[in-house]
Chain length 155, copies 3
Protein backbone atom coordinates (compact mmCIF):
# COMPACT_ATOMS: atom_id res chain seq x y z
CA UNK A 1 0.00 0.00 0.00
CA UNK A 2 1.34 3.41 -0.92
CA UNK A 3 1.31 6.25 1.54
CA UNK A 4 0.66 9.29 -0.64
CA UNK A 5 0.56 11.87 2.12
CA UNK A 6 3.65 10.50 3.82
CA UNK A 7 5.48 10.58 0.48
CA UNK A 8 4.67 14.28 0.21
CA UNK A 9 6.05 14.79 3.72
CA UNK A 10 9.25 13.07 2.67
CA UNK A 11 9.51 15.25 -0.44
CA UNK A 12 9.25 18.26 1.87
CA UNK A 13 12.20 16.92 3.84
CA UNK A 14 10.07 15.94 6.82
CA UNK A 15 9.65 12.54 8.42
CA UNK A 16 7.05 11.30 10.87
CA UNK A 17 8.61 10.71 14.28
CA UNK A 18 7.43 8.02 16.66
CA UNK A 19 4.24 9.48 18.18
CA UNK A 20 5.22 11.35 21.37
CA UNK A 21 3.87 9.76 24.57
CA UNK A 22 1.42 11.64 26.77
CA UNK A 23 2.98 13.79 29.51
CA UNK A 24 0.30 12.77 32.02
CA UNK A 25 -2.38 10.24 32.85
CA UNK A 26 -4.12 10.21 29.45
CA UNK A 27 -3.75 8.99 25.85
CA UNK A 28 -2.37 10.95 22.90
CA UNK A 29 -5.09 10.14 20.35
CA UNK A 30 -8.53 8.54 20.22
CA UNK A 31 -11.34 7.86 17.74
CA UNK A 32 -15.06 8.38 18.35
CA UNK A 33 -17.32 7.58 15.41
CA UNK A 34 -15.63 9.11 12.38
CA UNK A 35 -13.80 11.73 14.42
CA UNK A 36 -10.19 11.36 15.48
CA UNK A 37 -9.02 13.71 18.25
CA UNK A 38 -5.47 14.27 19.39
CA UNK A 39 -4.36 15.44 22.79
CA UNK A 40 -2.53 18.75 22.88
CA UNK A 41 0.78 18.22 21.07
CA UNK A 42 3.90 20.01 22.26
CA UNK A 43 6.96 20.75 20.07
CA UNK A 44 8.84 17.61 21.09
CA UNK A 45 11.72 16.39 18.95
CA UNK A 46 12.52 13.05 20.53
CA UNK A 47 12.50 13.57 24.29
CA UNK A 48 13.33 17.27 24.17
CA UNK A 49 11.12 20.28 23.58
CA UNK A 50 12.52 22.14 20.57
CA UNK A 51 11.09 25.48 21.71
CA UNK A 52 10.42 26.70 25.23
CA UNK A 53 9.65 30.20 26.46
CA UNK A 54 7.30 32.94 25.33
CA UNK A 55 6.87 34.13 21.77
CA UNK A 56 7.43 37.87 21.59
CA UNK A 57 10.03 37.73 24.37
CA UNK A 58 12.65 34.97 24.35
CA UNK A 59 11.35 33.62 21.05
CA UNK A 60 10.70 35.39 17.75
CA UNK A 61 7.54 34.89 15.74
CA UNK A 62 9.53 32.71 13.32
CA UNK A 63 10.57 30.43 16.21
CA UNK A 64 6.94 30.10 17.16
CA UNK A 65 6.05 29.21 13.59
CA UNK A 66 8.69 26.47 13.59
CA UNK A 67 7.36 25.21 16.92
CA UNK A 68 3.83 25.09 15.50
CA UNK A 69 5.08 23.09 12.53
CA UNK A 70 6.76 20.54 14.81
CA UNK A 71 3.54 20.22 16.83
CA UNK A 72 1.68 19.62 13.55
CA UNK A 73 4.08 16.86 12.51
CA UNK A 74 3.66 15.24 15.93
CA UNK A 75 -0.13 15.47 15.57
CA UNK A 76 0.12 13.76 12.17
CA UNK A 77 2.15 11.01 13.77
CA UNK A 78 -0.60 10.49 16.37
CA UNK A 79 -3.27 10.44 13.67
CA UNK A 80 -1.33 7.89 11.65
CA UNK A 81 -0.96 5.68 14.72
CA UNK A 82 -4.76 5.79 15.08
CA UNK A 83 -5.80 5.35 11.43
CA UNK A 84 -2.90 3.25 10.09
CA UNK A 85 -2.21 5.74 7.32
CA UNK A 86 -2.61 9.49 6.77
CA UNK A 87 -4.33 8.56 3.51
CA UNK A 88 -7.37 7.67 5.63
CA UNK A 89 -7.87 11.31 6.58
CA UNK A 90 -10.94 12.68 4.84
CA UNK A 91 -10.73 16.17 6.31
CA UNK A 92 -8.73 18.10 8.88
CA UNK A 93 -11.71 19.53 10.76
CA UNK A 94 -10.29 21.74 13.46
CA UNK A 95 -6.97 22.97 14.79
CA UNK A 96 -6.73 24.44 18.27
CA UNK A 97 -3.53 26.44 18.60
CA UNK A 98 -2.20 27.88 21.81
CA UNK A 99 0.84 30.13 21.84
CA UNK A 100 2.68 30.93 25.05
CA UNK A 101 2.78 34.68 24.54
CA UNK A 102 4.67 37.60 26.00
CA UNK A 103 2.60 40.63 27.08
CA UNK A 104 1.35 42.56 24.04
CA UNK A 105 2.23 39.84 21.53
CA UNK A 106 -0.73 39.48 19.17
CA UNK A 107 0.77 37.54 16.25
CA UNK A 108 -0.72 34.14 17.19
CA UNK A 109 -2.30 33.71 13.71
CA UNK A 110 1.09 34.03 11.97
CA UNK A 111 2.65 31.59 14.44
CA UNK A 112 -0.06 29.00 13.88
CA UNK A 113 0.21 29.32 10.11
CA UNK A 114 3.32 27.19 10.61
CA UNK A 115 0.92 24.32 11.26
CA UNK A 116 -1.94 25.38 9.00
CA UNK A 117 0.23 25.82 5.91
CA UNK A 118 1.67 22.34 6.39
CA UNK A 119 -1.79 20.76 6.55
CA UNK A 120 -2.94 22.53 3.38
CA UNK A 121 0.28 21.71 1.49
CA UNK A 122 -0.06 18.03 2.40
CA UNK A 123 -3.79 17.45 2.09
CA UNK A 124 -4.98 20.19 -0.29
CA UNK A 125 -8.67 21.04 0.28
CA UNK A 126 -8.92 18.18 2.78
CA UNK A 127 -6.37 20.05 4.87
CA UNK A 128 -8.35 23.29 5.02
CA UNK A 129 -9.51 23.37 8.63
CA UNK A 130 -11.26 25.63 11.08
CA UNK A 131 -9.03 27.15 13.72
CA UNK A 132 -9.00 28.70 17.16
CA UNK A 133 -5.87 30.75 17.96
CA UNK A 134 -5.12 31.87 21.49
CA UNK A 135 -2.31 33.46 23.44
CA UNK A 136 -1.86 31.91 26.86
CA UNK A 137 0.34 33.05 29.71
CA UNK A 138 1.67 29.69 30.96
CA UNK A 139 2.09 26.41 29.10
CA UNK A 140 2.84 22.88 30.35
CA UNK A 141 6.62 22.35 30.57
CA UNK A 142 7.14 25.94 29.38
CA UNK A 143 6.43 24.81 25.79
CA UNK A 144 6.13 27.63 23.25
CA UNK A 145 3.15 26.16 21.39
CA UNK A 146 0.46 23.52 21.93
CA UNK A 147 -1.70 22.15 19.12
CA UNK A 148 -4.74 19.86 19.20
CA UNK A 149 -6.24 18.49 15.98
CA UNK A 150 -9.65 17.05 15.07
CA UNK A 151 -9.84 14.91 11.92
CA UNK A 152 -12.68 13.22 10.03
CA UNK A 153 -11.70 9.69 9.03
CA UNK A 154 -12.49 8.39 5.56
CA UNK A 155 -14.71 5.55 6.76
CA UNK B 1 -38.42 30.16 1.55
CA UNK B 2 -38.84 32.16 4.74
CA UNK B 3 -35.95 32.68 7.08
CA UNK B 4 -37.58 32.65 10.49
CA UNK B 5 -34.44 33.08 12.55
CA UNK B 6 -33.09 35.85 10.33
CA UNK B 7 -36.44 37.66 10.58
CA UNK B 8 -36.08 37.59 14.36
CA UNK B 9 -32.59 39.05 14.01
CA UNK B 10 -34.02 41.85 11.87
CA UNK B 11 -36.76 42.52 14.43
CA UNK B 12 -33.99 42.89 17.02
CA UNK B 13 -32.36 45.52 14.82
CA UNK B 14 -29.49 43.24 13.81
CA UNK B 15 -28.44 42.14 10.33
CA UNK B 16 -26.14 39.34 9.28
CA UNK B 17 -22.93 40.76 7.82
CA UNK B 18 -20.97 39.07 5.07
CA UNK B 19 -19.12 36.25 6.86
CA UNK B 20 -15.70 37.61 7.95
CA UNK B 21 -12.77 35.98 6.15
CA UNK B 22 -10.20 33.96 8.08
CA UNK B 23 -7.19 35.93 9.40
CA UNK B 24 -4.79 33.11 8.52
CA UNK B 25 -4.30 29.97 6.48
CA UNK B 26 -7.58 28.25 7.35
CA UNK B 27 -11.34 28.36 6.70
CA UNK B 28 -13.99 30.10 8.81
CA UNK B 29 -16.54 27.26 8.99
CA UNK B 30 -16.79 23.57 8.15
CA UNK B 31 -19.24 20.68 8.46
CA UNK B 32 -18.42 17.14 9.60
CA UNK B 33 -21.37 14.75 9.76
CA UNK B 34 -24.18 16.71 11.41
CA UNK B 35 -21.80 19.03 13.24
CA UNK B 36 -20.94 22.50 11.99
CA UNK B 37 -17.89 24.12 13.57
CA UNK B 38 -16.79 27.73 13.23
CA UNK B 39 -13.30 29.06 13.56
CA UNK B 40 -12.74 31.53 16.39
CA UNK B 41 -14.73 34.65 15.51
CA UNK B 42 -13.39 38.08 16.44
CA UNK B 43 -15.54 41.21 16.91
CA UNK B 44 -15.10 42.41 13.32
CA UNK B 45 -17.52 44.97 11.94
CA UNK B 46 -16.53 45.09 8.29
CA UNK B 47 -12.73 45.18 8.17
CA UNK B 48 -12.27 46.75 11.59
CA UNK B 49 -12.31 45.20 15.05
CA UNK B 50 -15.01 46.95 17.06
CA UNK B 51 -13.32 46.23 20.38
CA UNK B 52 -9.62 45.83 21.10
CA UNK B 53 -7.82 45.78 24.44
CA UNK B 54 -8.40 44.03 27.74
CA UNK B 55 -11.70 43.83 29.56
CA UNK B 56 -11.30 45.13 33.10
CA UNK B 57 -8.68 47.68 32.00
CA UNK B 58 -9.23 49.69 28.81
CA UNK B 59 -12.67 48.12 28.31
CA UNK B 60 -15.61 47.83 30.68
CA UNK B 61 -17.57 44.62 31.16
CA UNK B 62 -20.38 46.13 29.05
CA UNK B 63 -17.92 46.69 26.17
CA UNK B 64 -16.91 43.07 26.41
CA UNK B 65 -20.54 42.02 26.32
CA UNK B 66 -21.06 44.03 23.14
CA UNK B 67 -17.93 42.49 21.64
CA UNK B 68 -19.23 39.01 22.47
CA UNK B 69 -22.53 39.82 20.77
CA UNK B 70 -20.74 40.95 17.60
CA UNK B 71 -18.70 37.74 17.61
CA UNK B 72 -21.95 35.80 17.94
CA UNK B 73 -23.51 37.57 14.96
CA UNK B 74 -20.38 36.84 12.93
CA UNK B 75 -20.57 33.19 13.95
CA UNK B 76 -24.21 33.06 12.82
CA UNK B 77 -23.14 34.50 9.48
CA UNK B 78 -20.57 31.72 9.10
CA UNK B 79 -23.13 29.08 10.03
CA UNK B 80 -25.62 30.45 7.50
CA UNK B 81 -22.95 30.38 4.80
CA UNK B 82 -22.43 26.69 5.60
CA UNK B 83 -26.07 25.57 5.98
CA UNK B 84 -27.82 27.97 3.60
CA UNK B 85 -30.19 29.15 6.33
CA UNK B 86 -30.12 29.52 10.10
CA UNK B 87 -33.41 27.62 10.10
CA UNK B 88 -31.37 24.47 9.50
CA UNK B 89 -29.82 24.73 12.95
CA UNK B 90 -31.21 21.98 15.18
CA UNK B 91 -29.19 22.91 18.27
CA UNK B 92 -26.42 25.27 19.31
CA UNK B 93 -24.23 22.64 20.97
CA UNK B 94 -21.27 24.50 22.38
CA UNK B 95 -19.88 28.00 22.69
CA UNK B 96 -16.22 28.55 23.50
CA UNK B 97 -15.70 32.08 24.72
CA UNK B 98 -12.34 33.69 25.31
CA UNK B 99 -12.07 37.13 26.90
CA UNK B 100 -8.82 39.10 26.77
CA UNK B 101 -8.74 39.95 30.45
CA UNK B 102 -6.91 42.39 32.67
CA UNK B 103 -5.28 40.99 35.82
CA UNK B 104 -7.91 40.14 38.43
CA UNK B 105 -10.86 40.44 36.05
CA UNK B 106 -13.15 37.46 36.68
CA UNK B 107 -16.38 38.55 34.97
CA UNK B 108 -15.96 36.39 31.84
CA UNK B 109 -19.39 34.73 32.32
CA UNK B 110 -21.17 38.12 32.23
CA UNK B 111 -19.18 39.17 29.16
CA UNK B 112 -20.06 35.99 27.30
CA UNK B 113 -23.73 36.29 28.17
CA UNK B 114 -23.69 38.92 25.40
CA UNK B 115 -23.42 35.99 23.00
CA UNK B 116 -25.38 33.40 24.97
CA UNK B 117 -28.44 35.59 25.47
CA UNK B 118 -28.58 36.30 21.74
CA UNK B 119 -28.55 32.59 20.89
CA UNK B 120 -31.35 31.82 23.34
CA UNK B 121 -33.46 34.79 22.21
CA UNK B 122 -33.14 33.72 18.59
CA UNK B 123 -33.42 29.94 18.83
CA UNK B 124 -35.26 29.33 22.11
CA UNK B 125 -34.44 25.90 23.56
CA UNK B 126 -32.42 25.08 20.43
CA UNK B 127 -30.14 27.97 21.38
CA UNK B 128 -29.42 26.68 24.88
CA UNK B 129 -25.80 25.57 24.59
CA UNK B 130 -22.95 24.32 26.72
CA UNK B 131 -20.18 26.81 27.29
CA UNK B 132 -16.55 27.17 28.24
CA UNK B 133 -15.55 30.66 29.46
CA UNK B 134 -11.91 31.63 29.82
CA UNK B 135 -9.86 34.71 30.45
CA UNK B 136 -6.73 34.85 28.31
CA UNK B 137 -3.82 37.25 28.52
CA UNK B 138 -3.18 37.88 24.81
CA UNK B 139 -5.55 37.63 21.85
CA UNK B 140 -4.91 37.64 18.09
CA UNK B 141 -4.91 41.23 16.77
CA UNK B 142 -5.54 42.47 20.34
CA UNK B 143 -9.23 41.54 19.99
CA UNK B 144 -11.26 41.80 23.18
CA UNK B 145 -13.22 38.57 22.66
CA UNK B 146 -13.02 35.41 20.57
CA UNK B 147 -15.93 33.00 20.13
CA UNK B 148 -16.11 29.57 18.50
CA UNK B 149 -19.45 27.81 18.01
CA UNK B 150 -20.46 24.17 17.45
CA UNK B 151 -23.89 23.54 15.94
CA UNK B 152 -25.93 20.42 15.19
CA UNK B 153 -27.52 20.65 11.74
CA UNK B 154 -31.14 19.61 11.23
CA UNK B 155 -30.35 16.86 8.72
CA UNK C 1 -30.59 -1.39 38.03
CA UNK C 2 -27.13 -1.38 39.53
CA UNK C 3 -24.83 1.57 39.09
CA UNK C 4 -21.41 -0.03 38.83
CA UNK C 5 -19.43 3.12 38.28
CA UNK C 6 -21.21 5.00 41.05
CA UNK C 7 -20.55 2.10 43.41
CA UNK C 8 -16.87 2.45 42.67
CA UNK C 9 -17.09 6.15 43.45
CA UNK C 10 -18.69 5.32 46.78
CA UNK C 11 -15.97 2.78 47.55
CA UNK C 12 -13.47 5.58 46.92
CA UNK C 13 -15.26 7.70 49.51
CA UNK C 14 -16.75 10.04 46.90
CA UNK C 15 -20.38 10.83 46.21
CA UNK C 16 -21.97 12.52 43.23
CA UNK C 17 -23.30 15.94 44.21
CA UNK C 18 -26.35 17.51 42.64
CA UNK C 19 -25.12 18.75 39.26
CA UNK C 20 -23.95 22.38 39.70
CA UNK C 21 -26.10 24.93 37.83
CA UNK C 22 -24.60 27.04 35.03
CA UNK C 23 -23.09 30.37 36.14
CA UNK C 24 -24.48 32.16 33.08
CA UNK C 25 -27.03 32.01 30.29
CA UNK C 26 -26.34 28.45 29.15
CA UNK C 27 -26.82 24.77 30.11
CA UNK C 28 -24.36 22.54 31.97
CA UNK C 29 -24.55 19.48 29.70
CA UNK C 30 -25.96 18.47 26.32
CA UNK C 31 -26.02 15.50 23.96
CA UNK C 32 -25.51 15.58 20.19
CA UNK C 33 -25.61 12.21 18.46
CA UNK C 34 -23.58 9.86 20.63
CA UNK C 35 -21.48 12.68 22.10
CA UNK C 36 -22.19 14.22 25.49
CA UNK C 37 -20.49 17.54 26.17
CA UNK C 38 -20.29 19.33 29.50
CA UNK C 39 -19.87 23.03 30.04
CA UNK C 40 -16.71 24.08 31.84
CA UNK C 41 -16.99 22.77 35.40
CA UNK C 42 -15.59 24.77 38.29
CA UNK C 43 -14.54 23.29 41.67
CA UNK C 44 -17.89 23.96 43.33
CA UNK C 45 -18.76 22.10 46.53
CA UNK C 46 -22.38 23.09 47.03
CA UNK C 47 -22.62 26.82 46.39
CA UNK C 48 -19.01 27.60 47.23
CA UNK C 49 -15.87 27.27 45.19
CA UNK C 50 -13.49 24.98 47.07
CA UNK C 51 -10.39 26.51 45.49
CA UNK C 52 -9.88 30.06 44.25
CA UNK C 53 -6.66 31.82 43.28
CA UNK C 54 -3.67 30.91 41.17
CA UNK C 55 -1.78 27.64 41.35
CA UNK C 56 1.90 28.31 41.93
CA UNK C 57 1.13 31.37 44.06
CA UNK C 58 -1.67 31.24 46.62
CA UNK C 59 -2.29 27.55 45.88
CA UNK C 60 0.12 24.62 45.79
CA UNK C 61 0.15 22.05 43.01
CA UNK C 62 -1.59 19.61 45.37
CA UNK C 63 -4.43 22.11 45.91
CA UNK C 64 -4.81 22.37 42.17
CA UNK C 65 -4.94 18.60 41.89
CA UNK C 66 -7.72 18.48 44.47
CA UNK C 67 -9.57 21.24 42.60
CA UNK C 68 -9.27 19.26 39.36
CA UNK C 69 -10.69 16.19 41.08
CA UNK C 70 -13.70 18.15 42.34
CA UNK C 71 -14.28 19.50 38.82
CA UNK C 72 -14.14 15.92 37.55
CA UNK C 73 -16.74 14.74 40.06
CA UNK C 74 -18.99 17.66 39.08
CA UNK C 75 -18.55 16.74 35.41
CA UNK C 76 -19.56 13.15 36.20
CA UNK C 77 -22.65 14.47 37.93
CA UNK C 78 -23.58 16.42 34.78
CA UNK C 79 -22.98 13.38 32.60
CA UNK C 80 -25.16 11.21 34.83
CA UNK C 81 -27.95 13.80 34.69
CA UNK C 82 -27.76 13.56 30.88
CA UNK C 83 -27.42 9.78 30.47
CA UNK C 84 -29.32 8.52 33.53
CA UNK C 85 -26.35 6.47 34.68
CA UNK C 86 -22.58 6.63 34.40
CA UNK C 87 -22.77 3.02 33.23
CA UNK C 88 -23.95 4.40 29.87
CA UNK C 89 -20.55 5.97 29.25
CA UNK C 90 -18.74 4.07 26.49
CA UNK C 91 -15.63 6.25 26.48
CA UNK C 92 -14.33 9.44 28.04
CA UNK C 93 -13.19 11.06 24.79
CA UNK C 94 -11.62 14.34 25.74
CA UNK C 95 -10.80 16.40 28.81
CA UNK C 96 -10.06 20.10 28.48
CA UNK C 97 -8.30 21.33 31.59
CA UNK C 98 -7.57 24.95 32.38
CA UNK C 99 -5.47 25.91 35.38
CA UNK C 100 -5.40 29.48 36.67
CA UNK C 101 -1.64 29.75 36.86
CA UNK C 102 0.87 32.05 38.48
CA UNK C 103 3.70 33.37 36.29
CA UNK C 104 6.24 30.63 35.56
CA UNK C 105 4.04 27.80 36.81
CA UNK C 106 4.27 24.97 34.30
CA UNK C 107 2.89 22.01 36.27
CA UNK C 108 -0.55 21.98 34.62
CA UNK C 109 -0.23 18.28 33.64
CA UNK C 110 0.30 17.21 37.26
CA UNK C 111 -2.63 19.37 38.39
CA UNK C 112 -4.96 17.86 35.80
CA UNK C 113 -3.91 14.33 36.69
CA UNK C 114 -6.22 14.89 39.67
CA UNK C 115 -9.07 14.55 37.18
CA UNK C 116 -7.48 12.11 34.74
CA UNK C 117 -6.51 9.57 37.39
CA UNK C 118 -10.06 9.55 38.72
CA UNK C 119 -11.51 8.84 35.27
CA UNK C 120 -9.11 5.94 34.67
CA UNK C 121 -9.65 4.48 38.16
CA UNK C 122 -13.42 4.55 37.65
CA UNK C 123 -13.79 3.52 34.02
CA UNK C 124 -10.58 1.61 33.25
CA UNK C 125 -9.73 1.73 29.54
CA UNK C 126 -13.02 3.53 28.85
CA UNK C 127 -11.71 6.33 31.03
CA UNK C 128 -8.49 6.81 29.06
CA UNK C 129 -9.09 10.13 27.32
CA UNK C 130 -7.29 12.67 25.19
CA UNK C 131 -6.43 15.90 26.96
CA UNK C 132 -5.58 19.52 26.44
CA UNK C 133 -3.85 21.22 29.40
CA UNK C 134 -3.48 24.97 29.55
CA UNK C 135 -2.44 27.62 32.02
CA UNK C 136 -4.65 30.70 31.89
CA UNK C 137 -4.17 34.01 33.61
CA UNK C 138 -7.75 34.76 34.68
CA UNK C 139 -10.62 32.37 35.40
CA UNK C 140 -14.35 33.00 35.92
CA UNK C 141 -15.06 33.71 39.59
CA UNK C 142 -11.32 33.37 40.32
CA UNK C 143 -11.68 29.56 40.21
CA UNK C 144 -8.41 27.64 40.35
CA UNK C 145 -9.37 25.06 37.71
CA UNK C 146 -11.96 24.60 34.97
CA UNK C 147 -12.67 21.27 33.29
CA UNK C 148 -14.82 20.39 30.27
CA UNK C 149 -15.46 16.76 29.33
CA UNK C 150 -16.55 15.04 26.10
CA UNK C 151 -18.02 11.54 26.43
CA UNK C 152 -19.19 8.92 23.94
CA UNK C 153 -22.48 7.39 25.05
CA UNK C 154 -23.03 3.64 24.84
CA UNK C 155 -25.98 3.86 22.46
Amino acid sequence: MTHTIESKLTEMGLTLPAPPPAVGFYVPVLRTGNLVVTSGQLPFMGKELAFTGKVGERLHEEDGKNAARICAVNALSQIKSCLGSLDHVRQIVRVEGYVQSAPNFHGQPAVLNGASELFVMLFGDAGRHTRVALGVSEMPLNAAVQLAVWVEAAD
